[in-house]
Symmetry: C2
Subunit: 447 residues, 2 copies
């Protein structure tokens, strides 16, 4: 098989007659690594450990099909019509029941439905961010969030994580030092459960401490929680929002527990912020997809969705096991990785001398795809990191994928050792799992 | 029946502890008059001539239900999964066929699918507008567009319309005078067919002239066309985009020809702009609703949708007739209104001395609702105007609604004549239909 060339930034060489008309915010936007990889990942011969697509093959499709048809037959003129910008009331009530599983106490008027939780993130950013405003974000962070933040010209200041998640002292230092230099810190963005990309989770004690620090330095927290219910080893931990209703905006999603193609997510926010989000939703879409909302609502009401989430958990447990076994058997010495308690992702740190971005083309040629680590940092870190996802392929494919990746890394490492380090400036991000994390906060790293 | 109090701006008196954190762009956002009226309009005893909800009761619901169920049964893991940010390819191909009915020649790669055409408008604005940038917009304009423009801190400069739509000379003058004063004009926003709120349509000759002026002053046009296929008296006119592929961004929607609750609209743009829109869509939602797109696609492929649009046209013709007859019979002397050739709306100009905003509560008490004209101007004009929609209620209800409205206006006019003009400063917007429009461009009016 020949060398595969990866998608490049589009149309770089095309003369753009509209260039002088674009807003400044569009200048930094580029196709994300994750999105660009979709085309490659879809080739049947490639094992994609890249995408974060949930494995929804196990859904009760006949039941969902019947619900959809029934909704349209019985309530067509309503479920196919415009709705309110805040979202359908019955669904918002059910969302509160879903969140109660993680200790969140909220009423339907606290909830704003969005077109996937990505859009909730967009509306939050739109509500708070002026160009140059600071967002504190754990490092590494979800590439889609960094992309949204950049589209509003936020400056992302990364805050260190360790095995227990975002470090409270690092958060405090980052907030204080930004403010001391006169910068406006708007909020801190965190994924407490099974962080994308690391798979790491904030411990209970860590959550309490983070909220104490947030109160001490008067900081708003954005808690992004798409994976919370996909806890694989024990019951979900209480959400940050369950401890503090005024200082936490909670973002949730049905994309991982039901179906991403419906695009139904939500935000829970203190009322003044909620009001802003509703107005922003009106300006952005008039209303989130009504039929999608009604279908989610019918599914939650008519199906044992908790049992379904348990079945998803079983499947992901088998996939995680295949990945961890494969890594154990096939990774060259010096490679380290996280052991996630849930969610979709494992985060690799490569041996010194390897660069994950430059190895990607070789990997795809060897029929395995991953996401290089740099996309998850706003500051160029992550060159020695790789995000692997175990959500979509079968356990057998995942195992085979790690074998192919092992070959690529081993060969690259042999080359590097024979001919010298090829990437001497490569900087790893998160400390590898087998090192003690430092308790000292790093200097804030800026975009 | 008691006096009805209308929704006010929400939570004005509540102390908002997050006030210092909000971005400047949120300051001007308020609940739109149209949205606030939803609650009132839904009361069964009120004839709502306010909302722009299409009458979708005539859809082939059994067929749509079957298509939905079939999609999920046969292709569930695909149609319920994430999709590409640009939208599903088969749908984009079908969208090109739909647009061909209005003379638009485009390929699927020119199309970006959005969460309703409102979101296309949002993405366009996000792509081009810095705070303070000028958008030229015909006066009056769609309230939802003005709302989006405001949310990006654009300055809207209105351009006069007459019975043939946006005035080319006024457009030229506005563009030149804004630039002469050093302001950045980013684009001109227009609804060529059955403008919301006036119902007026650009003549063919007018379209050609507008494009000439746009070329002369090097101006990008945003052509918003949700109602084009709902032409009631003759075949649709060619779209602006059919004359110029480089200077026109076209926005379309399935909300009026199929179902708004699916939230499927689109933009057609020159490729450099299209690329920006795709990136903006990634940041905003990752992808537009996939299942909705597939359902629209299946509907277009499996149903005589043109025949269905013809049936919608028949229904709207009857509704328009009921409204125009009712207005003829019930409006007090001095009231004028437009006679739309399609779409959903009639635009009233009240006799001097009446204020449409202050009469609304009385009207709702008298069981008829409308939208006051001021929402459709960025500059406070429209106090003597009313938007009436004939899309949703039955012809009998519409006729009865105009009768009730006639009572309210007649009584208010009697009062005004007895006790003096109550609204001496009320300024009408568009010249009434029975006056010759001035050919002189007005001074640009700013937000």
């Amino acid at each position: 098989m020949g060398q595969v060339s990866l998608p490049e930034q589009r149309h770089e060489t095309r003369l753009d007659r509209y260039l002088d008309l674009y807003a400044q915010r569009t200048k930094g936007l580029k196709a994300s690594a994750v999105r660009s990889l979709f085309a490659v990942a879809n080739r049947p011969e490639v094992v994609s450990l890249a995408g974060g697509m949930p494995n929804i093959g196990g859904l009760p499709l006949d039941q969902v099909a019947d619900e959809a048809a029934d909704l349209i037959r019985r309530r067509g003129p309503e479920v196919l019509q415009y709705g309110g910008a805040q979202g359908e009331l019955p669904l918002r009530e059910q969302i509160c029941q879903v969140m109660a599983l993680e200790g969140v106490q909220a009423g339907p008027d606290d909830v704003v439905v969005s077109c996937g939780s990505q859009q909730a993130l967009d509306l939050i950013t739109r509500t708070f961010i002026e160009p140059g405003d600071v967002i504190l974000a754990e490092a590494p962070s979800y590439v889609g969030a960094l992309n949204t933040f950049q589209s509003y010209q936020a400056q992302v200041v990364h805050v260190a994580m360790d095995q227990d998640g975002l470090q409270p002292e690092a958060l405090r230092q980052a907030a204080l030092s930004c403010r001391a230099s006169g910068r406006r810190v708007k909020f801190c963005y965190t994924i407490p459960n099974f962080n994308n990309p690391t798979g790491l989770t904030q411990s209970l004690e860590r959550r309490r401490r983070l909220l104490e620090v947030a109160a001490e330095v008067d900081l708003l927290l954005i808690e992004d929680n798409p994976y919370g219910l996909l806890s694989l080893d024990h019951d979900p931990l209480p959400a940050l929002r369950s401890f503090d209703q005024e200082r936490v905006v909670y973002l949730g999603s049905f994309s991982k527990t039901f179906a991403p193609g419906l695009r139904v997510g939500w935000a829970v926010a203190p009322h003044p912020i909620k009001d802003k989000l509703v107005l922003a939703q009106e300006a952005a879409t008039l209303c989130p997809p009504v039929f999608s909302q009604c279908l989610v609502s019918a599914y939650l009401a008519g199906w044992d969705w908790r049992g379904q989430v348990d079945r998803f958990r079983q499947e992901y447990r088998a996939r995680r096991a295949a990945m961890l076994q494969g890594l154990e058997e096939h990774m060259p010495e010096g490679t380290t990785w996280t052991r996630p308690g849930g969610g979709f992702f494992v985060w690799l740190t490569l041996p010194e001398g390897l660069d994950s971005q430059s190895l990607l083309a070789t990997a795809v040629t060897n029929r395995v795809a991953y996401v290089p680590g740099t996309g998850f940092y706003a500051d160029g870190l992550g060159t020695r990191n790789i995000r692997l996802s175990y959500c979509f392929p079968t356990p057998q494919q995942i195992y085979e994928g790690t074998r192919r990746l092992g070959e690529v890394l081993t060969e690259a490492l042999d080359l590097a050792r024979t001919f010298g380090l090829t990437a001497p400036s490569a900087r790893p991000g998160l400390p590898p799992a087998d090192q003690s994390p430092t308790s000292l906060p790093p200097a804030p790293n800026e975009v």
